[in-house]
Amino acid sequence: MTPILNTAQLFLLAGVLFLAIGSFATNLIVRALGPRLARWDPRARHRAIVVVAALPIILAAALLFAASLPSLVSLALPGRDHCVVHDDGHAHLCFVHLPPSGIHLGWLVALVAVALVPFVRGAMAIRRVRAAESIVAALAATGEHHVELGITIVESVQPLCFTAGLLRPRVLLSRGLFEALTSDERSVVFAHELAHVRRRDALIAGMVHMLGVLHTPHIRRWLARELAVAAEQACDEEAATSIRDRVAVAATVLSVERMTRDAGLAALDPVAVAFGACAVKRRVESLLGDPLPPHSLRRAGFIVGTALATVLVLANEVHHLTESLLSVVAH
């Protein structure tokens, strides 16, 4: 191995360790603060959940930058060498004095295996999304377009209505549901689905789904579920603002739920067992109450910013601690 590859190995291992630390820290944060999020308005909650999903990457990037900072300074200012000793068998995260040896072969194999998991999962997810995109494109191309409403009606008696597509979201409504809804209910459904299109909820959910690989299964499920509920509630709120009647939105949610149930889709019930309260229940109860005041993310941003600044201030300590950790686990 060349010294450059040895350095790359050390940074790769440090990156994976930091991601694990980030994932663990996120787990603790969600367990401590997750229930509090329920009191936030859905738009702020949605944004916060996206940040939580990306937190392991944010923390790992900050730690990796902090660990590299002394070495980067040495590289930029040759007179300020941060290493006291070099060829001492210690793992050195140093761009000036490149390490003569990398990490143990077993660690290297394990790292490649760990890195392959998200790649394989990502490739499979992209394949499934592309297959689903082609189904939706076929439905949209052969359905009845209502340009003025921004929807496409598909010929099915099943009562279905959804917004689908990552880059080009489309609202598809079945003929069965279109004819079963009253004029007021249609207004609610269209306003709700067009809010999904505007907010790009499917794309954001796709990104959070991909970031899920950085989290434990429990947190991954929590993220997916809470993000979906927050998106639905945010769209309910937009529909309620648009038609100026929160109770009508709640009534429409229940009406569509009953139609879907009565249409024999109850066969889907076995997969309905999820943790936490049911989304329909939460949505309706939220709509029957007063709207939650907008929650500013400024405080959360300040806390995250302070934590990142602290990591940078402690760059020397992070650097040496990381070197010690790497020496213990892999050198």
Partner: protein, 132 residues
């Protein structure tokens, strides 16, 4: 999820043409769709052949030409695609791709539904009383 009948843009236009009950002979389809799009008769003929091979069209030989007709109605075609999509939701594969108005994979129990409907009715009554 296996998409059994994904369609390209031209294929969808041909299917729409045939579902609307118009002539299924290649020349007629070309007059209706091809000329406007600057597409040759050959392209229309191969599109019709491809749809036939996908099992979406049937054909009869009339004189020297094939006359195509849909093998299924638009509703049957849509039902098949929606089944594929709903099945993917059931298997938890498409949940990030689709935001349904009411999540078909997660249902409120009947007792919850009745209680919520009673709450909505009660809220409506109280709002009406407040307006009087």
């Amino acid at each position: 999820m296996t998409p059994t009948r994904p369609l390209g843009e031209l294929e969808a236009a041909v299917m729409n043409h045939l579902w609307s009950g118009r002539d299924g002979e290649a020349k007629a389809v070309h007059v209706s769709l091809g000329k406007r799009r600057g597409i040759t008769l050959n392209t229309i003929q191969s599109t019709l052949k491809r749809l036939f091979e996908k099992g979406l069209l049937a054909r009869d030989k009339v004189s020297h030409a094939h006359v195509y007709r849909p093998r299924m109605t638009r509703e049957e075609f849509h039902r098949g695609l929606l089944d594929d999509l709903v099945r993917s939701l059931m298997h938890g594969q498409g949940e990030t791709f689709v935001a349904a108005f009411v999540d078909v994979t997660e249902r409120a129990g009947p007792e919850h539904l009745e209680r919520l409907e009673a709450l909505v009715a009660e809220r409506r009554r109280s709002l009406e009383r407040g307006q009087r």
